[in-house]
Symmetry: C2
Subunit: 339 residues, 2 copies
DNA sequence: GCGTGCACCGGGAACGTTACCGGTAACCTT
DNA sequence: AAGGTTACCGGTAACGTTCCCGGTGCACGC
């Protein structure tokens, strides 16, 4: 191939400006020890020639790449999207750019090893640090700059930010109980995921605290998906003494409950109240009352933490808990016994 | 800084395997001229040492970086998200990874220059090619590998993929007319965006073809946002002879129509039918009948085109039109005059 | 026995940038 | 006025990889 299409490099700029390569580099990195008029001249030439620094060469030489890697399970989930919104906002405010990887289908067992692969790839060459959303792996090279958002495991060896799952779920349950509900169904998340487990525990604890004894038929095992949520809700609502409210481990499952109710000719909230978790945008359209865990905020904070890590500044807290907030909409109503 | 944290490089692998650096490189690039037992040995060492190739160095030396840049106006729009889903799927099937940039607020006038900057940055150093979603700029360096999805302008100098806006909007209008609607409102998109303009033209043409004379009060100027859609719908539905149906230039505007109707105590579709455009996921929950323009598919195809461009293979078509499809849901009903 | 071809491998020069070291001139300091 | 300090700049060696070129050993044919 002809070298015809070679882009202008620092050398060309140097020649055009009549200075050395070193000086151009100094200007580029805004060092102090360069006379202000040479700086002006070089800057002018750069602007005129339309020079943009070659990131590859720069990354190779200096350790700083100004790139943050993001590993996300599936870009299609509203959950991922919400987090990405926050990440994106933080990135825009920083000097970093974003490199995106997806691990693809979460259910495939290879997710964890995929993660490992991506992370090491990103870490030792192209990115300065990595954010992993819903990381499956518990351990990573401990001194690599890694931050996770909502990790699956319980106590990973890297910093992370997480919603207050237990608190939020408790709040939701207390709300339901306050409305008079006594038979409350629960659709779980995937069992291996910590946040879902904590919500389940909150459900159980709230029940016992209210003096209601558990009915195991009322907790149905879901997997955070709408389709499974729908199927489980169909079962729950077919019980001879069906629950007057269903608390779903996330909004997508809750949407499944809406679908199931509709199919059965039941009305939300008249025949069954529904509460979700996450507050994804769809929740608004359905009037779903849910627990907002500020996913975007979590992404935003994760970037901030990672940047500190990259700059070798100390982290205030290795784990950040984000308080949740119950947002009331129209999917719940008071219950005073079967009318 | 200590060189303590230096990652293992190709040289370390070479030493450990007892071969030269060149040979390791050959194995890495799966060249033919290497004995199969040496290959095995090198591969084993690589696996054992957990070596991952340094992307920066590789990119600098060889022109191929295996990275595709994506420039997207705002990651929060359902529109962008849909396209990204398709892009992501195509990326997963290819050997490329994805680098993501957002131009931020579209309304800011700097969008086009931002684009130029990103594209040149991506092009000459870090990425092999660039996909621009809803590109505002009409011209780019013509021999750079660039593909656009749904460009704003009418005839940019780079390849692009686009929905069949006119056809789709025509189909929607014919549907509405078939249902008996005669007073049909239209909420436009932003005027400078070609796809929106084509939908508007289809609206007008369908009306004249049906022998209905235009009422300018029925076309309200929107900007693709829900909020503006809501406001325009409020006005439209407050007309003394209000339209029996509203066709919105995109789904987000249509959602605004739903909100407006609700606020005014009107029911969709009983008091007013609504049709949108895009078929974003939210449309399903609202029961919005809309024109699916297969945004994800568009993203998918764009990646395929770009890959061909990068590989210097000829493109079948410089512009790809994706046929649309009307998806009927529950936001429309027949109309036989004010009851 | 010697050239020829083949299969495999190693050496070194790039790629574009930054870090380091050293050099020059002007300006203080005493 | 001589030495020291400062401000600025240039030369060059890396960074880790790929590409090009050439070299080795072996088999083969004449």
């Amino acid at each position: 191939m002809r070298p015809s299409r070679r882009s202008t490099g620092i050398a060309d700029v140097a020649k055009a400006a009549g200075v050395s390569i070193s000086t151009v580099s100094r200007v580029l990195n805004s060092r102090v020890d360069v006379a202000s008029d040479t700086q002006q001249r070089v800057l002018a030439v750069i602007d005129e020639m339309g020079y943009t620094s070659n990131l590859a060469a720069r990354s190779m030489r200096s350790r700083r790449k100004n790139l943050i890697g993001l590993v996300v399970p599936d870009i299609g989930f509203p959950y991922s999207i919400e987090i990405m919104k926050g990440i994106n906002r933080a990135i825009a405010e920083s000097t970093f750019d974003l490199l995106l990887y997806t691990t693809g289908d979460v259910k495939k067992s290879g997710a964890a090893s995929h993660e490992q692969h991506y992370v090491s790839l990103l870490n030792n060459s192209i990115a300065d640090g990595v954010i992993i959303v819903a990381s499956a792996a518990a351990d990573f090279d401990s001194d690599a700059p890694i931050v996770s958002v909502d990790p699956h495991g319980d106590n990973p060896n890297y910093p992370f930010v997480q919603g207050a799952n237990y608190q939020g779920a408790t709040e939701a349950m207390e709300y339901l109980l306050r409305l008079g509900h006594r038979r409350i169904g629960f659709i779980t998340g995937r069992p291996e995921i910590g946040s879902g487990a904590r919500r389940l525990k909150a459900y159980r604890d709230a029940l016992t605290k209210a003096g209601i004894n558990q009915d195991d038929r009322l907790v149905a095992s879901g997997d955070f998906s709408t389709e499974t949520g729908r199927r489980r809700a169909l079962e729950l609502l077919s019980l001879e003494d069906r629950p007057s409210a269903i608390f779903a481990a996330n909004d997508q499952s809750a949407i499944g409950v809406f679908q199931a109710a509709e199919e059965m000719g039941l009305r939300v909230p008249d025949d069954c109240s529904v509460v979700g978790f996450d507050n994804i945008p769809e929740a608004k359209y359905l009037g779903l009352t849910t627990v907002d865990q500020f996913l975007a905020e979590m992404g935003y904070i994760a970037v901030q933490m990672l940047v500190r890590l990259i700059d070798h500044e100390p982290l205030e807290d290795r784990v950040r808990k984000i308080p949740t907030e119950l947002v009331e909409r129209t999917s719940c109503r008071p219950w005073a016994g079967r009318s």
